[in-house]
């Protein structure tokens, strides 16, 4: 546990020692605000809720989370510091979890800093704060899902750009797996139950129900399982390809 916390802390402090943290948070706040006001018609809806704000989160994460996750392992590979880290008395799960949690907490900090918007709706009207809290939780879980995918892919390469692009594409497929764009492709050659299974993997379907205020255990466990599976894959990749 101590090792995990040491790794987590090192990563998290690392973000704030480089411009990465400030650039990321600024862009995230700017984009999430602008999108909800201009594209989401925050005012024109005349509803005291944050639906306009959360609708854009999957698309924001699609670009911004891989930008955080790409360096998690690829950079360690590139600089050789992975050799240092993995010859310290830490286990692979400690390293994988520590890094992932640091990155996830970091996006959590960025998400938390959007609270002025929540203050605004509470000032303007009388929103259902339970729904908003649920949506924040859903958004955070979804960010974790993207992050787990990105962390695993980052471990497969020493090139951060490659990690970014592959993560983005993979996240995009997960995001849209309930949509014809992806399903039509599979429908051609896979039996219907498999296609349905793929459709049920979609981030969007699970997130939109949470966003509407329906906190279904299935949606929560979907994200928890998704994160676990990708982190497990991450451990396998780290073990198998430490030196490559």
């Amino acid at each position: 546990m101590n090792n995990l916390i040491a790794i987590l802390r090192r990563e998290l402090v690392g973000y704030f020692q480089t411009p990465v943290a400030y650039v990321f948070i600024m862009i995230f706040l700017l984009l999430s605000g602008t999108l909800s006001f201009y594209l989401g018609n925050f005012y024109e809806r005349e509803q005291a809720d944050l639906g306009a704000f959360f609708t854009f989160h999957p698309w924001l994460y699609l670009f911004l989370v891989p930008a955080i996750s790409m360096r998690l392992w690829a950079e360690e590979r590139k600089t050789g510091s992975i050799e240092l880290l993995m010859t310290l008395p830490v286990t692979v799960p400690q390293a994988v979890l520590g890094k992932f949690l640091a990155a996830w907490i970091f996006t959590g900090i960025a998400l938390f800093l959007t609270f002025p918007l929540w203050l605004t709706v509470n000032y303007l009207g009388d929103p259902d704060n339970g729904i908003i809290l649920g949506a924040y939780l859903g958004s955070f879980l979804m960010a974790g899902g993207f992050m787990a995918i990105g962390a695993c892919i980052s471990a497969t390469t020493r090139n951060q750009v490659v990690a970014f692009i592959l993560s983005l594409v993979t996240c995009f497929l997960f995001l849209l797996s309930g949509f014809p764009l992806v399903l039509d492709f599979f429908q051609l050659w896979l039996p219907q139950p498999v296609v349905d299974a793929i459709a049920s993997l979609s981030f969007l379907t699970h997130f939109s129900s949470i966003n509407k205020g329906v906190i279904d255990l299935r949606d929560l466990s979907y994200f928890v399982i998704l994160i676990s599976v990708w982190l497990y894959a991450n451990m396998i990749v780290v073990r198998a390809r430490k030196a490559a």
Binding site: G14, G80, P89
Partner: protein, 308 residues
């Protein structure tokens, strides 16, 4: 199994390349083992396996009684490792970096150990500057500090002085010599003077196999220059001829300053015979230099054959 590091029948195969090919050796406390070999001989790979970074294809490694494959954490706890090029987290300062390592290594007297390594390696002036702004020498010292922080029984260093200037090399060597008394140290290098300066034992590997495992002294004796006599003076032709005709001389090599180096036949000494010749020609004052043998010559002879 008495050694602190025991390597048994180690094999590492990448695709169809035998990077390490059935390597076995043991190193005990107080020994400084120099791991020599041309680039690509398998030195780094062997070190990565000993430190638990890479799994071997077959064979086993035991560090302080802990098998690296089955008890990796216990083995890693009693060793310190300086990877090739001394990587570190570039955005951190040495102080933050050493504290991170201390968080994981958890040495008994944390503050005391931190102060000790910082003092020993002279890191105070750069303690709060990001690692990527430091000179090569300082970065190497940060790497050494990290490896020494928990006062490990076994210290493994991959090319600890590579890329340093002569003064920095000397500092690192002095430091290693100081550490050597009660530790087991393995260093890899392709710098032969380093072996003479710090190692009590040398293993030469080539193509993943051990070619020799001896003391630097014994190694030097393999050199054809061992007991060679160099006459450091301008010599006239009759003297040169007389020296060249001595029975035990195998080869005569001219020196740059008109002098000569006489290489003896294996097992012979030349000093007496050479002095006699010089006396006969009234050259009593001419300085002679008896060579102990040249490591680079031994190294070349041993590793060259393998590649041909």
């Amino acid at each position: 199994m008495s050694g602190s590091v025991v390597v048994e029948n180690l094999v590492k195969i990448y695709g169809d390349l035998h990077a390490v090919d059935d390597l076995s050796f043991e190193v005990g406390s107080g020994e400084v083992l120099g791991f020599l070999g041309p680039n690509g001989a398998g030195k780094s790979t062997t070190m990565k396996i000993i430190t638990g970074f890479l799994p071997p294809t077959s064979g086993r490694v035991t560090v302080c009684g802990h098998p690296v494959e089955t008890q990796p954490e216990a083995a890693k706890r009693c060793l310190g490792y300086l990877p090739e090029g001394a990587p570190a987290y570039s955005e951190m300062t040495p102080w933050q970096f050493l504290n991170f390592v201390a968080d994981i290594r958890r040495p008994k007297d944390r503050r005391g150990r931190l102060d000790w390594v910082i003092g020993q390696l002279g890191l105070e002036p750069v303690l709060h500057r990001p690692v990527d702004t430091l000179s090569k020498g300082y970065r190497r010292r940060v790497g050494l500090a990290q490896a020494m922080l928990h006062d490990p029984r076994v210290l493994i260093m991959d090319e600890p002085t590579d890329g340093l200037d002569p003064n920095q090399k000397r500092q690192v060597r002095d430091f290693i010599n100081e550490m050597a008394k009660d530790k087991t140290i393995i260093i890899s290098t392709h710098i032969l003077e380093e072996v003479e300066a710090i190692c009590t034992r040398a293993i030469i590997v080539s193509a993943g196999k051990i070619l020799v495992d001896e003391t630097p002294e014994e190694l030097r004796r393999r050199s054809r220059y061992c007991n060679a006599v160099t006459v450091q003076a301008e010599l006239k032709e009759p003297v040169r001829t007389a020296l060249g005709e001595l029975e035990d001389v195998a080869v005569v090599e001219p020196e740059r300053n008109q002098g000569l180096t006489l290489i003896p036949r294996p097992g012979c000494t030349l000093e007496g015979a050479v002095r006699d010749v010089l006396l006969r020609h009234n050259l009593k004052e001419v300085p002679l230099h008896i060579q102990a043998g040249r490591l680079d010559d031994v190294f070349h002879t041993l590793t060259h054959d393998v590649h041909e």
